[in-house]
């Protein structure tokens, strides 16, 4: 009874306080290690082979047109020629049909879209169509003109938008057919509908009143696509895609999709094709390269075999390690029994 009246300083006998919580104590046993290695090895091999097979089924054409159009390249090196037009064409032969959806990309090399100052040089609030003082954003030095007119959209990213126009022509029986290309639906739904919005106004040009185009642009933002209201201003697909900066200095962005109509309902048939390019975007000054790419896709994406090869190598390595471990274990056991004798 005394013990009840006087609180004992004896610690509680709980599993937590006595460090006796029930626990699962996994240990690396031979069986588990070997099964891990063999199962993972087999799985990796299977996945790797699937990936390689599917990546191989992708048809892809890549043309470096900054080399092909070297005349235009040298013209653009001098910035005083900015208003001179330069056209250039690139022929290629499609030996096999490209079946299914065909996508057209432009690729850039050595273009450091991932540079920190480049990445932050934008104003998301402005692109959301809100009235904002871009002076407070990270858009410098592409914020305002000397007379105080703000740029719309501001920042280095928007200013440097890829502004070549590429058309694709199908040469069949000495006649030239323009391949119909879709310029919308190429961006993420969230970007198009959430992240980018035009300022609310009666019409677009009044919405952007009081702003000016960025210095490298040839036309203001509300004239990016005058044919389609849903693709003009900030919600222009080309702008949206460009504004989604790439993680690396070599990248490709979706430019157009082949519209599967008429002759091209199944994709691109084999034959001679020509890219007809209006060359505006200078790259040669910083040793950049420009590509135009036609590609189909599969479930695993494009024709990059990296994942497939990596999985195969990894699977092989895991399986081999499994065998090595088995061998070592057998040898050790033999030694043990030998010593016991």
């Amino acid at each position: 009874q005394e013990a009840q009246t006087r609180p004992s300083r004896c610690p509680d006998n709980s599993a937590f306080k006595q460090q006796k919580l029930p626990a699962w104590k996994p240990q690396l046993s031979l069986a588990s290690v070997l099964s891990i290695f063999f199962v993972i090895g087999a799985a990796c091999l299977a996945v790797g082979i699937c990936l390689i097979v599917s990546a191989n089924s992708v048809r892809e054409i890549e043309i470096n047109y900054s080399d092909t159009c070297s005349d235009c390249s040298t013209l653009r090196e001098n910035s005083s020629n900015w208003n001179k037009e330069c056209y250039c064409s690139a022929d290629f032969i499609l030996k096999e049909d490209m079946l299914g959806d065909v996508f057209m990309y432009y690729g850039l090399q050595n273009f450091y879209q991932n540079h920190r100052r480049y990445v932050i040089s934008r104003s998301d609030v402005q692109l959301l169509g809100r009235d904002v003082n871009v002076e407070n954003s990270y858009c410098t030095p592409f914020t305002t003109y000397e007379n105080g007119t703000p740029m719309a959209p501001c920042g280095a990213i928007a200013n440097s938008i890829f502004n070549d126009t590429i058309d694709l022509f199908y040469n069949v029986n000495s006649s030239v057919i323009q391949v119909p290309l879709l310029k919308t639906g190429n961006s993420w739904w969230t970007d198009k509908n959430v992240k980018f919005r035009n300022p609310v106004a009666q019409n677009l040009s009044s919405a952007f009143a009081g702003t000016a185009r960025p210095p490298y642009w040839q036309k203001p933002v509300y004239m990016l696509d005058e044919e389609d209201e849903r693709n003009n201003g900030y919600i222009n697909d080309e702008l949206i895609i460009w504004m989604r900066v790439s993680a690396f200095s070599t990248f490709r962005n979706l430019y157009r999709r082949v519209s599967r109509t008429g002759q091209f309902a199944d994709g691109l048939p084999a034959g001679n094709y020509t890219f007809y390019i209006s060359y505006n975007f200078p790259v040669s000054k910083f040793k950049g390269k420009k590509y135009v790419i036609l590609s189909t896709v599969v479930w695993s994406g494009g024709s990059n075999p990296f994942l497939g090869i990596a999985y195969t190598v990894c699977g092989t390595a895991a399986t081999l390690t499994g065998f090595v471990i088995t061998a070592i274990h057998l040898k050790l056991r033999k030694e043990k029994t030998y010593f016991q004798k």
């Binding site: 460090q19 104590k25 990445v119 959430v194 989604r244 993680a247 895991a318």
Partner: protein
């Protein structure tokens, strides 16, 4: 510190890279991205970038490391407080961690400095055995005459026939009581002697409740024993001693006390019994007393010697008792001479001891009253419970134990044997007792020569090392002796040994021994010894003690442990940990210390790994982003990574992990050794976890890079945008570190499961929330990653890349760890394997048997260390009058009482 050098190096590389890049590419890229304001040249930009990278990469050593370390320490301290197995119910004392910062050092102790009294021993003496007239009492035998172990169930002797018995006294052998009751003459004489021959002061506060004030606990124990067997020492005046003998009060006239001193090693009293007989009762060390005995008791001497050896073998403190009847005439003569001698002005001491010697000796050939041997007593200096086992366990954990005591050498050595510090298996026990500096040096050198002859060669590493720079204090490496040795050093010699030039010799010699006992040391010396070891050895030291004289030692050692016992609270107050019993030390070190250490090491290893893996991805990305200090991950991820996503699982691991449970770590003290050598976290381990982190970060960067390079999503849209890459890299990283902690965790409790899975789900929940439309519309500038989670994590190749990085990061670790234990098992791996095998069998019963020592050495005699109080008692000066009016002892209430009782 190295980590900061590493950080600076990384930043420097990136800054140089930036300089080159700006010069080579950035300059031309200014068309699209002009240099920032004020930046005019590539080197300047590189300089700025250096600092940018310092900011980005400083997550290798995040603040949360320190916070987490503190939390873990605190948690482990609470475990110590909460441990029921370190709770002492007798005085309701739980163990207490008074500092929270030293837990992991408990797992690295190499030297224990222990006090003796109150720490190893209870400072309680109890009468354990005796030999009377050639018969040994004290062991309990069963019917077949076989000795049985004394345990709690053994029936105790019932002393109820004696109303004055001390209820705390415990004795098991019934035959002795029988002998007393049968009026056996020798037995009666034996106890009469014990009740008369001493300098104890009685105190009877109320009728029948006697309290003895003994100068030494040994004496108290003997008198108490006599009291219980029916010879109650009741009261004392300067001239008389009142004893209640088997219920019958007798008053003896005390004629002389021949007091104890260190040379005589015995004391005697001369009393006149009520019947008028003159008797000299003597007790003392066997060696001394045997010299004095008359040859007529030689056969008895042999038997007694046999018993004495047996007692000594059990670590008991023995005394031999003898008596002698005196001739009246001779005594009168003697007392006269005694008086003359005691009033002599010169050489009083010598003369007195000569006289003492004379009367105690059986000098007179043919004397009608030869000195007769009565028997021997054996007193147990009660060790605290479980001390020998604890010391044995700690010794197995290769912890070196130094006992620092104020006691005499004999007592200290005796205790050393009885608590298993010293034993006969030792190759040798050196005793250093030189009284000059040179003697001490020689003794130390000789000892070392014997232990390790090669340590005197010029080729010996340490000699070379010290020849080079002699005056600088250096850390000594451990030296291995060619056997198990003990060292006993006297306080006197220690004073010399602690002087400057001998220090080194002392440390080298003493540290080769398994056990060191320093006796007669002052509190200051205790601290000096600890300081010495701290100075020359790279080892964690622990000091344990209970009294105020241990405070300095406790404060000096890395870790101080206070025994919260009888001797007040000073030791506890200055200690880092405290508990009630010495035996809890093994649990504190082997269980709590070891766990804390392992947990802390695992924590540090994992923490550095995860932050290296996290941070170095930025480093690799620098090479691809023009060294522009662009981060790989979302800013929110960087903020939350250490704070939310990875903090709890690692805390869970380092609070709950145990590789083996407490029982096994006590059964296999060898598991403690890696901690002493700091094998689980040192530079090599740190570098290896750094390399592991670098490897992981390479995988974490290049797998997503390869997977995104020049490819597209399955719906044809571009995949390689920065935000998708960031999301992919951070998801990979988080899953990889979560799996890694799963691998590191050896003990999966519910909490661990909850933390790990919880953190992962919290990551996805937070990510989807932050990347949602609503958050973007509310705080546009803060959450630019809108929609990334939905769009990217729906892609099969993103997930394939994530799985691939997990496999590549984790599988090699699994393989490496498994092969390491198979091919190059560390000693502790072997122990763990043994445990694993043993677990399949039912656990063996923990050894409860009390250790039987077979030592044949003679233990010390049970006497107080100082000169006795005999003279004081005889003078009556200490008989303090309790009444303010009385000035002399005769008027004191005490003496009045005697008169009532039949003076």
């Amino acid at each position: 510190l190295q980590i900061f050098a590493f950080l600076a190096l990384m930043c420097l590389i990136l800054a140089i890279g930036n300089g080159i890049w700006e010069y080579d590419k950035g300059y031309y890229f200014q068309v699209y991205l002009p240099w920032a304001e004020g930046v005019t040249s590539a080197p300047y930009s590189a300089f700025l970038m250096f600092w940018s990278y310092v900011i980005i990469l400083n997550t290798v050593v995040p603040i949360s490391l320190y916070v987490s370390v503190e939390i873990i320490r605190l948690g482990n301290s609470f475990y110590i407080d909460w441990d029921r197995k370190m709770y002492y119910p007798v005085n309701d004392t739980p163990a207490q961690a008074r500092t929270t910062t030293l837990n992991e050092e408990l797992g690295q102790i190499k030297y224990i400095f222990s006090d003796k009294t109150g720490t190893l021993t209870q400072n309680i003496m109890c009468f354990n055995k005796c030999s009377i007239n050639g018969k040994s009492y004290g062991d309990v035998c069963d019917l077949a005459g076989q000795r049985i172990e004394i345990n709690e169930n053994t029936e105790k002797v019932d002393f109820s026939y004696n109303q004055l018995a001390d209820p705390k006294f415990v004795f098991y052998d019934h035959s002795l009581v029988e002998a007393v009751k049968l009026n056996d003459d020798a037995t009666h004489r034996f106890f009469r002697l014990l009740s008369l021959c001493h300098t104890v002061m009685p105190e009877e506060k109320e009728e029948g409740n006697l309290v003895y004030q003994a100068q030494s606990p040994d004496e108290g124990a003997l008198v108490t024993a006599a009291r219980n067997f029916g010879f109650v020492f009741r009261a004392r005046t300067p001239e008389t001693i009142t004893v209640v003998e088997m219920g019958e009060t007798k008053t003896y006239k005390l004629l002389a006390i021949l007091d104890f001193n260190n040379v005589r090693k015995r004391m005697s009293v001369i009393v006149r019994s009520p019947e008028g007989d003159l008797t000299l009762y003597c007790k003392g060390a066997d060696t001394i007393l045997y010299e004095l005995l008359h040859s007529s008791c030689d056969s008895l001497k042999e038997e007694t010697t046999e018993h004495l050896n047996e007692f000594a073998g059990e670590g008991l403190r023995t005394l031999v008792v003898a008596y002698k009847n005196l001739d009246e005439k001779y005594f009168q003569d003697w007392i006269r001479r005694h008086h003359v001698a005691s009033t002599a002005l010169e050489g009083r001491e010598d003369k007195l001891s000569e006289l003492y010697e004379e009367i105690e000796k059986d000098l007179m050939v043919g004397s009608p009253f030869p000195a007769k041997l009565l028997g021997a007593t054996a007193i147990e200096d009660k060790l605290q419970d479980g001390v020998p086992q604890t010391i044995e366990t700690l010794a197995k954990a290769s912890i070196k134990i130094w006992v620092l005591t104020g006691d005499k050498q004999e007592t200290a050595v005796n205790i050393g044997y009885s608590c298993n510090l010293l034993n006969d298996d030792m190759t040798d026990v050196f005793i250093i007792e030189g009284s000059t500096s040179d003697d001490v040096l020689n003794e130390l050198r000789n000892a070392r020569k014997k232990m390790k002859p090669e340590s005197f060669l010029d080729t010996d590493e340490i000699n070379i090392q010290f020849a080079k720079s002699s005056n600088k204090a250096k850390l000594l490496p451990d030296e291995q002796a060619n056997g198990v040795y003990g060292l006993v050093i006297n306080g006197h010699s220690l004073a010399y040994a602690l002087e400057g030039n001998l220090e080194l010799e002392l440390v080298r010699t003493a540290c080769m021994c398994k056990v060191v006992i320093c006796c007669r040391v002052t509190p200051l010396q205790k601290a000096q010894v600890v300081e010495l070891v701290k100075k020359y050895k790279k080892a964690v030291t622990l000091a344990i003690g209970d009294g105020a004289n241990d405070v300095s030692m406790i404060k000096t050692a890395h870790i101080g442990v206070g025994i919260s016992g009888q001797e007040g609270m000073q030791a506890v107050l200055s200690s880092d940990f405290s508990f009630a019993q010495f035996r809890y030390l093994q649990r504190l070190l082997l269980v709590h210390g070891r766990w804390s250490y392992i947990r802390m090491c695992k924590f540090l290893k994992y923490f550095f790994y995860k932050n290296f893996a996290f941070t170095l991805v930025h480093f690799w990305y620098g090479f691809f982003s023009g060294f522009s200090a662009q981060t790989v991950y979302d800013e929110w991820f960087i903020t939350l990574y250490n704070l939310v996503y990875t903090s709890l699982p690692v805390l869970g691991m380092s609070l709950f992990d145990q590789d083996v449970d407490d029982r096994w770590s006590m059964l296999f003290p060898q598991l403690y050794v890696p901690g002493q050598q700091n094998l689980y976290f040192n530079k090599i381990v740190f570098v290896s976890c750094m390399l592991h982190g670098i490897y992981s970060s390479l995988i974490l960067f290049f797998i997503p890079y390869g997977a995104m390079y020049n490819t597209m999503r399955s719906d044809g849209k571009a995949i390689a945008d920065y935000q998708s890459f960031a999301l992919m890299a951070q998801t990979c990283l988080l899953i990889v570190v979560s799996v890694q902690i799963g691998l590191d965790t050896a003990y999966w409790t519910v909490v661990n499961q909850f933390f790990i899975w919880g953190s992962l789900s919290v990551y996805f929940a937070i990510t989807f929330t932050m990347y949602s439309d609503g958050m973007y519309l509310i705080l546009t500038a803060s959450f630019p990653f809108v929609g990334t989670a939905r769009n990217t994590l729906s892609q099969p190749n993103v997930w394939l890349a994530i799985f691939l990085s997990i496999i590549l990061c984790v599988l090699p670790v699994v393989g490496y760890r498994f092969l390491k234990t198979q091919l190059k098992p560390t000693p502790s791996d072997k122990v763990l394997l043994k445990i694993k095998e043993a677990k399949k069998r039912p656990p063996p019963p923990s050894p409860k048997r009390r250790l039987r020592r077979t030592s044949t050495r003679r233990s010390g005699y049970a006497f107080s260390h100082q000169h006795g109080f005999g003279a004081l008692i005889m003078s009556g000066r200490n008989m303090r009058p309790k009444s303010p009016f009385a000035t002399t002892g005769t008027f004191s209430p005490n003496s009045d009482k005697y008169k009532h009782k039949g003076l």
